[in-house]
């Protein structure tokens, strides 16, 4: 796969279903057992009214997309900066997507800057942000 380098070019994204099983597996794998992700009763008394997925789980999807699109450069200085703007609740299928925004030169080195996002079934953005990848 050719890595996207042209402004406006879309990254190869994907859809992923966020089930409670996935959230629970993520909690065990990451060690993050915050009850807001696991405890139905606790979560029902929070502002969200139900359990929500870990923000880091959503970010892991973005990370995977970047690794797939830029396999030779992403892990040699790639940076992701995101905001978690809306909680993903178990059962939702999210869309992980990105687009090349611009080419930047930082300290004499060229970087590709992409907008990245995770979109929920209702069209809301669960995550927005940018990812910067070294050109070489």
């Amino acid at each position: 796969m050719k890595s996207p380098t042209q402004i406006g070019e879309e990254l190869v994204g994907f859809r992923r279903v966020v089930t409670q099983d996935r959230v629970t597996a993520y909690a065990h794998a990451s060690g993050d057992h915050n009850p807001i992700h696991l405890d139905e009763e606790f979560a029902s008394n929070t502002r969200f009214g139900q359990r929500i997925a870990h923000g880091m789980l959503n970010l892991a999807f973005v990370w995977e997309m970047m690794s797939l699109n830029y396999p030779s450069t992403w892990h040699k200085g790639g940076t992701v900066k995101t905001r978690f703007t809306s909680p993903v609740v178990p059962g939702e299928e999210v869309i992980v997507a990105g687009k090349v925004k611009r080419i930047r030169t930082i300290g004499g080195e060229d970087f590709i800057e992409c907008d990245v996002a995770i979109t929920q079934p209702n069209g809301e953005k669960a995550l927005t942000g940018s990812a910067t990848i070294p050109m070489k």
Binding site: F14, R16, R22, A25, Y26, H28, A29, S30, G31, D32, H33, N34, P35, I36, F42, T46, R47, H54, G55, M56, L57, L59, A60, F61, W63, E64, S67, L68, P71, W74, H75, K76, G77, G78, T79, V80, K81, T82, R83, F84
Partner: protein, 250 residues
């Protein structure tokens, strides 16, 4: 000590226990269960002192209590100390041995970031350091993380390396435990995350993470905290850096 033995049946790294001094005894409790207690006679006072040292705290003043995170292994030793009869001189040698073992366990746990006094949120201050956390993730750990985040039919394997976010997730889990978010069931929101990776890490590599509370502010009763973390390898070379914004609503 029935509750205590039941508690020890399942090995755990973080149990929030409470050491308190009443009018007549020093008690060690977990949730609503008193695990053990020593009366305030000569033998009991010696036992209480040794228990406190083993837990890494001072004996609380009368009417006071202190809460500590401890592993089941550490608790086992504290319970054994509480059972000693300090009227018998041989008990001092045994207690000394148990205390030394407990102190070693505390040191080891601190190195891995798994045992500490539980922090009150009001104790959070900008510039405060957390860790170092020693990260030593196995192939099985790496696989579990990739499977949890990935596509079940064809998970992306990151070329046999760790999913880099796994490092950050590890530190975040330690931070929220250390701050007491899980034990105190504090409602939290992970508002933002930044990470830069300089090189990939393989399962089995030892990575050391040092976190700093970059800023901490109270906004309408919620605490906004930004933690910066630096990940280095054993040669002190930088592997990754991250920044996490956490909102806590006590």
């Amino acid at each position: 000590m029935e509750a205590a033995y039941k508690l020890l049946e399942t090995p755990r790294s973080h149990l929030r226990v409470r050491l308190e001094q009443t009018d007549y005894a020093v008690l060690l409790s977990y949730r609503d269960d008193v695990l053990t207690g020593v009366t305030l006679n000569r033998s009991g006072i010696n036992a209480a002192s040794a228990m406190a040292v083993a837990l890494g705290v001072d004996v609380p003043a009368a009417g006071d209590a202190v809460e500590v995170l401890a592993s089941t292994g550490l608790l086992y030793r504290v319970l054994a100390i509480s059972d000693l009869d300090f009227e018998n001189p041989a008990s001092f040698d045994l207690a000394n041995h148990l205390v030394n073992e407990a102190i070693d366990m505390q040191r080891s746990a601190r190195r891995s970031g798994s045992t500490s006094k539980i922090m009150d949120l009001s104790e959070l201050e900008s510039g405060q350091g957390f860790g170092p956390y020693v990260i030593d993730l196995s192939q099985a750990d790496a696989d579990a993380y990739i499977n949890a985040t990935g596509d079940g039919s064809a998970p992306h394997d990151f070329g046999g390396h760790l999913h880099p976010l796994h490092l950050d997730a590890f530190v975040l889990s330690r931070l929220i435990e250390e701050i007491g978010i899980v034990e105190n069931r504090i409602e939290t929101l992970h508002a933002g995350q930044q990470m830069t990776v300089h090189r990939q890490v393989r399962p089995g590599d030892t990575i050391i993470a040092n976190a700093t509370l970059k800023s901490c502010s109270n906004r309408r009763g919620s605490i906004w905290a930004i933690f910066d973390t630096v990940f280095t390898d054993e040669s002190a070379n930088r592997v990754a850096t991250s920044s996490s914004t956490i909102i806590m609503m006590p």
